[in-house]
């Protein structure tokens, strides 16, 4: 005996209308003989018999049927009478459910009793579902075995899981990003939302990554600079200013920018133009309790070493106290990141502060052997790295720019003038 079901005879149809039986109940039919005409939104089709035998019709003409509904049995008369009516009644259910839905009546009692009844059947029932549907159920924290499948052979489909989630008031929004390890290490993983600052950093870094960049590295002999800083330190302290290398480096950079203005610019990728800036606002990367911030020394070309030192100190305090304003962190034209101040490292490859053309990494000054003529002396070595937008400038420009910065840092006359 074979079941004759209404199957998906189009491409993705879910229901149809049993237009007409072409045979009568109890008729003898042949294999492949047309039994019924069913109308779908695509076509009117004939439903053939899978085998030869006697037919037992289970539903009436002129009735809606869903894919998977049992229409008839075909087989030996003895088999048919044995397996007849009860199943037929059961299988009528979808149609009545359909009517209930159409009439706007939710089948409350059925639904309420369903999860329990199904749950008890869980142990025996093998769930049919694709891996992606199982994953969805896991993500929504739904036991897939209690979801009623509407697919072929009761397969649980994505829609079944989603509609179950909706009904049980489940948040059906799927996380957009997930890791395989999360399933393996449930309970050993914590999800931490990004702070506003980290979100801003993440966004800026993503933008920065869009810049086709290259890096250049060199070392400066900061021995003269170091003694200059030592010399001026005391004077400054009286004015309540703690002097570091940084204001001198800022000055050296500004002078180098004047020589090589393409580094004091940004790139307009939409128009394919360089936006050349004729003001010198130097950004300084600063580590705040909640993450990286860039404070900006505006018009650094017009400020003295002591003014810059004072401003660096004030803005630094504001960052640490989290009282810094947005205005004090924007509109930089070139940025310096002082990796040395963090207390370690030799050389790094900094990320450009988008949309600027370049960033200078300033590293820890260390005492190192320096060859002067035939002599090896102890010198204070300042490693520098420059990451630059290769659309705007080339490696040769980077070398020239960096050489200029080094020249100023190493030039006693320049430093004398500043001091």
């Amino acid at each position: 005996m074979k079941e004759i079901k209404f199957v998906d005879i189009g491409e993705g149809i879910t229901e149809g209308h049993l237009h007409k039986w072409l045979v009568k109940d109890g008729d003898t039919v042949k294999e492949d003989q047309s039994l019924a005409q069913i109308e779908t939104d695509k076509a009117v089709v004939n439903v053939p018999s899978p085998i030869s035998g006697t037919i037992k019709l289970l539903i009436k003409e002129d009735q809606n049927v869903k894919v998977g509904d049992l229409l008839a049995y075909v087989g030996e008369p003895a088999e048919l009478s044995a397996a007849g009516a009860p199943q037929a009644v059961q299988k009528q259910q979808p149609a009545s459910q359909l009517n209930a839905v159409a009439a706007g009546i939710a089948p409350e009692t059925q639904r309420a009793s369903k999860p329990e009844a199904a749950a008890s059947a869980t142990q025996q029932k093998e769930v049919l579902a694709t891996p992606s549907v199982r994953k969805l159920a896991r993500e929504l924290n739904i036991d897939i075995s209690i979801v009623t499948g509407t697919g072929p052979s009761g397969r649980v489909l994505e829609n079944d899981v989603r509609s179950y989630a909706m009904k049980s008031g489940h948040p059906s929004a799927m996380p957009k990003f997930s890791e395989v390890t999360e399933e393996k290490h449930a309970g050993e993983i914590e999800r931490i939302p990004l702070s506003q600052t980290r979100k801003a950093i993440a966004k800026n870094m993503e933008l920065s990554w869009t810049i086709p960049r290259a890096s250049h590295m060199d070392i400066a002999n900061a021995t003269s600079l170091s003694s200059m800083v030592q010399k001026e330190k005391e004077k400054m302290q009286k004015l309540g200013i703690k002097l570091t290398f940084l204001p001198f480096i800022i000055k050296a950079v500004v002078e180098a920018l004047k020589e090589y203005p393409r580094f004091n610019a940004s790139y307009d990728h939409e128009k394919g133009e360089i936006i050349q800036k004729k003001y010198y606002n130097i950004g300084l990367a600063a580590e705040a309790p909640d993450g990286l911030k860039v404070i900006v020394i505006k018009n650094a070309d017009r400020k003295s070493i002591s003014q810059i030192a004072k401003e660096v100190r004030e803005l630094g305090d504001k960052v640490r106290n989290q009282t810094i304003s947005i205005e004090e962190m924007r509109d930089s034209t070139f940025t310096i990141t002082n990796i040395g101040s963090l207390g370690g490292g030799f050389l790094s490859v900094p990320m450009i502060n988008y949309p600027e053309v370049a960033i200078l990494g300033v590293h820890l000054v260390r005492e190192m052997p320096v060859v002067q003529g035939d002599m090896v002396k102890v010198g204070k070595i300042l490693p520098l790295s420059l990451t630059f937008d290769h659309r705007v400038v080339d490696g040769a420009d980077a070398v020239l720019f960096c050489n200029a910065v080094i020249r100023y840092i190493e030039d006693p006359n320049f430093l004398e003038m500043l001091g």
């Binding site: 004759i4 079901k5 199957v7 998906d8 005879i9 189009g10 491409e11 492949d32 695509k42 076509a43 009117v44 089709v45 004939n46 439903v47 053939p48 899978p50 049919l128 891996p131 072929p152 395989v180 399933e183 393996k184």
Partner: protein
């Protein structure tokens, strides 16, 4: 021809029982298919679209595999080594540039093989079709392009398909031979194809087989919605199988008894194909092995689970 029709009928019935996915039967186009495929020499290569059961059958493609494809297993679209042909191409006319290329390759290699490619009337409006004929013409590639002009491109009638009086004349623009033949006359199709293959060394031929799609475009289509019963009835009289039977009966080569014998024999052959296709046990491994460069633990667990599951065996 009767076997291919019987098989198409069987697959249609299986589809209506949910035992195959969408299917494109070739009712009415048996002469165009079997006639042309019979004219091919053993070393010639066929390049099908997707309504060529008669070609597959004639060229010795294992027909249980053919059904397997319609059941939904891509394994059914793998052409065995001993069959000289290409897999089905469902996107319209995309097989034509392939065919031109394969034909040129034969010439380049110094092989004597010709390529016989199939396309529908709708396919002749595609750029691919024009490009393929043009290149084949320039290269003088051994290509025989067969248009199964069955008058309907799904619901688009032939008269709206092209303002050209014939589809065969599309050959003129490409500077190649064009032939229009009664596509419901198996002998005529055979003769035209045979000639085209013997001339293939000198360049391509386009053969328009004027025939009629007696059935639906595919099982998802209902032609009664867009064409008249009169039209269908008129073409039913020109059914290529009726015609070849009448011819053979006239020659005293066919009787009702022989016909019945053939029918019963075919039925047994078809049952064996269906049985073989339906007993196919897919191997789920490839679903998992081609996703990552390595096998993540979760996939390896799922692979084991799917291998252990009786789902694949059922």
């Amino acid at each position: 021809m009767v076997l291919t029709r019987a098989y198409d009928n069987k697959i249609l019935s299986l589809q209506r029982q949910g035992r195959t996915a969408t299917f494109a039967p070739g009712f009415g186009e048996e002469a165009a298919q079997v006639g042309s495929a019979s004219a091919m020499r053993p070393n010639d290569i066929f390049v099908p679209a997707f309504r060529q059961s008669g070609v597959y059958l004639t060229r010795g493609f294992p027909m249980d595999l053919y059904l397997l494809y319609w059941i939904g297993y891509e394994e059914g679209n793998v052409v065995p080594e001993n069959v000289r042909g290409m897999p089905m191409a469902v996107p319209v006319s995309t097989q034509m540039p392939h065919a031109a290329g394969i034909a040129y390759a034969q010439k380049y290699k110094g092989s004597d093989s010709a390529v016989v490619a199939y396309v529908g009337d709708g396919g002749t409006s595609e750029g691919d079709f024009a490009e393929a004929l043009n290149l084949a013409g320039v290269w003088k590639a051994p290509l025989v392009a067969i248009i199964q002009n069955n008058q309907w491109a799904i619901s688009m009638p032939r008269k709206k398909q092209s303002a050209a009086e014939t589809l065969a004349q599309k050959a003129f623009a490409a500077g190649i031979n064009g032939v229009q033949v009664d596509g419901n006359d198996v002998v005529a199709v055979y003769k035209a194809t045979r000639e085209a293959i013997s001339n293939a060394r000198d360049g391509p031929t386009l053969i328009e087989c004027v025939t009629y799609r007696m059935g639906m475009h595919t099982t998802s289509d209902d032609p009664t919605k867009y064409r008249s019963d009169e039209e269908t009835a008129a073409w039913a009289k020109k059914d290529p199988i009726l015609r070849v039977k009448a011819y053979l009966e006239g020659k005293g080569l066919l009787s009702d008894a022989i016909d019945k014998e053939i029918e019963e024999g075919n039925s047994k052959i078809i049952d064996s194909w269906v049985e073989k296709a339906e007993s196919f046990k897919p191997d789920p491994t490839s679903m998992f092995t081609n996703v990552y460069s390595f096998m993540p633990e979760i996939l390896s667990a799922e692979l084991e689970e799917s291998k252990a599951s009786d789902f694949w065996q059922g």
